[in-house]
């Protein structure tokens, strides 16, 4: 094998590993795009949590609990990943505060619903579904604004 051919698998592996990493924000625009994607991912997780609450009577217990657990994990991962990105300037601080306020609120609300589900079930499913709907819409609006 020629040297470049020998290096090809290593280069491919490196590229694959790098493609899975969270990259830093290069400027304010890039940071805003990342914030938008974070909001979209969080909105998606909230929608699944909303379905677990709204359609609880159509699901088995372990399944509904699994959906909520996944939503909590997804939201926690979204918060950790975006929280680890350094805002490039003061101008990005506002965006950071806004998106983290929404995503952290989403995480804590879904976590609370998971706790209720594991005990006696969600106390007021209709109200919880409405609340999650509103939160998902706010997150989606933010994501649309920062596309």
């Amino acid at each position: 094998m020629t040297p470049p051919a020998r290096l090809a698998p290593l280069a491919l592996l490196t590229a694959l590993v790098l493609s899975a990493c969270v990259s830093p924000a290069w400027d304010d625009h890039d940071y805003a795009l990342k914030a938008g994607k974070t909001a979209a991912s969080a909105a998606s997780a909230v929608r699944f949590a909303r379905s677990a609450v709204a359609y609880r009577d159509r699901m088995t217990g372990p399944y509904a609990e699994g959906l909520l657990t996944e939503a909590v994990q997804d939201l926690s991962s979204v918060n950790d990943q975006f929280g680890g990105v350094q805002p490039p300037s003061d101008a990005s601080d506002g965006i950071r505060d806004e998106v983290l306020r929404l995503t952290e609120k989403a995480e804590s609300e879904v976590e609370e619903l998971l706790i209720q589900t594991r005990r006696d079930g969600v106390k007021d499913p209709a109200a919880a579904a409405r609340e999650l709907d509103g939160l998902a819409s706010e997150l989606n609006d933010f994501a649309e604004k920062h596309k």
């Binding site: 493609s19 929608r47 359609y55 159509r58 699901m59 088995t60 372990p62 399944y63 959906l67 989606n140």
Partner: protein, 407 residues
């Protein structure tokens, strides 16, 4: 009923190709992000796999030898070794994902973490491959996988806007980039035409002792099984396009993927779909593990197959067992089975010409096929697909890197 039972090999193989763990999630993701705009890829995949599976079934029935056995003889040991290396690597990767998929289905039922289910699933799969007759195995898991038809029922119960779904067929969403669209097109085609399908299908034909008299059965398997698998993958995408797309939710797990069935059909539907998912992924586990044994044994000329007692095919069974152990270890590292399968789909796409070129060549060789060589229609279609698969193979890895695996 007898006719349905006769096509279980095709159904089991097609489920491995169209509705294994990777396809289940890939179809749901595609439906949620692109609506039905990638349905054409599934159709292209169905036609492609039918063309090549028909050839490999005919090769098995006429020569009573499976495709891989002939690849080395016809193309030489070096070309055969490249083919073996690529398909064996993808097989083990896919096997790991399928074991993880079966364990995830059990997690949905029990609430116990899927990692606890991985060793029992692997053990039972090995026991089935060791003890259960090939025909019994294909009938049980092929027919149980039919439970996935529940996606079609759920779609009807969800009452989608059929006009909107039809419009999506020709109108991709504007906010998704062209490279991402093409990346998912390649992943879907890679899933539909996974290399192990033809090796398993032709080896299965030999296990069932097909002869020239069974050509009709072979063709029935192809033309019933694969279109059925394709129809199910379209139904999964349509369910996702109906439930997830309007609220911009993107499923990334098995639990989220079956949500439309729960919404449409309630607890009974949920139970049936989980049974179907388990049967399809467990069936694909058997298929990929056996394919590992088939390809290695056929390349080296060892006695292989379940039609002989295990003692007479010891190296074949050791290969199957070793593949199961390696795949189980890979999944127990806590690597996400869904991610494993997403990557394996793209690697499959990159290896497609290596698999299908030898099939096309052997199906045209009168030394093996006598008068049953390809007709003009098969050759025109086969040649068209070879060009397409070459383009797909060249584009697969660059697109995966450029789009960060479709993000």
């Amino acid at each position: 009923m007898k006719k349905l039972v006769a096509v279980t090999l095709g159904i089991l193989t097609a489920f491995g190709g169209f509705v294994d763990i990777g396809d289940l999630v890939a179809n749901a993701v595609v439906g949620s992000r692109f609506g039905m705009s990638l349905a054409w890829v599934v159709i292209v995949g169905i036609v492609g796999i039918c063309v090549f599976a028909e050839m490999s079934g005919r090769i098995a029935a006429v020569s009573q030898r499976p495709v891989f056995d002939l690849v080395r003889e016809r193309m030489g040991p070096r070309a055969g070794l490249v083919n073996l290396g690529a398909s064996f690597f993808i097989n083990v990767l896919t096997l790991a994902a399928e074991i993880g998929g079966s364990a995830l289905a059990l997690e949905l039922v029990t609430g116990l973490n899927y990692l606890l289910w991985v060793p029992p699933v692997a053990l039972v799969a090995w026991l089935v491959m060791w003890r259960v007759k090939f025909e019994t195995m294909e009938r049980v898991f092929g027919l149980a996988g039919l439970a996935l038809v529940v996606f079609i029922v759920a779609l009807w119960r969800l009452g989608p806007d059929w006009g909107e779904l039809t419009t999506q067929l020709v109108r991709p969403p504007q906010d998704e980039g062209v490279p991402t669209y093409l990346y998912y097109a390649i992943a879907l085609l890679g899933g539909a035409m996974t290399p192990y399908e033809v090796f398993f299908f032709s080896s299965g034909g030999v296990e069932e002792k097909w002869t020239r008299k069974d050509l009709v059965t072979a063709r029935a398997n192809v033309f019933v099984g694969f279109p059925l698998g394709g129809a199910l993958s379209l139904a999964i995408a349509a369910c996702a396009a109906t439930v997830f797309m309007p609220v911009a939710a993107e499923p990334d797990s098995l639990g989220q993927m079956v949500l439309p069935v729960a919404q449409g059909l309630g607890k009974v539907g949920l139970g049936v779909v989980i049974l179907g998912v388990f049967a399809a992924t467990f069936g694909a586990t058997l298929e990929t593990a056996l394919s590992s044994g088939y390809s290695l044994s056929q390349y080296f000329g060892w006695q292989w197959g379940k039609y002989v007692v295990p003692g007479r095919a010891a190296r074949f069974h050791v290969t199957v067992l070793a593949s199961v152990i390696v795949a189980t270890a890979l999944i127990l590292t806590t690597i996400d089975p869904i991610k494993v399968t997403e990557y394996s789909l793209v690697f499959s796409a990159a290896a497609l010409p290596l698999t299908y070129l030898p099939v096309l060549m052997i199906a045209n060789d009168p030394d093996y096929m006598g008068q049953k060589v390809n007709g003009r229609f098969s050759n025109v279609l086969g040649s068209f697909y070879m060009v397409l698969l070459l383009v797909v193979a060249l584009a697969a890895i660059p697109l995966m890197l450029a789009t960060k695996a479709g993000q």
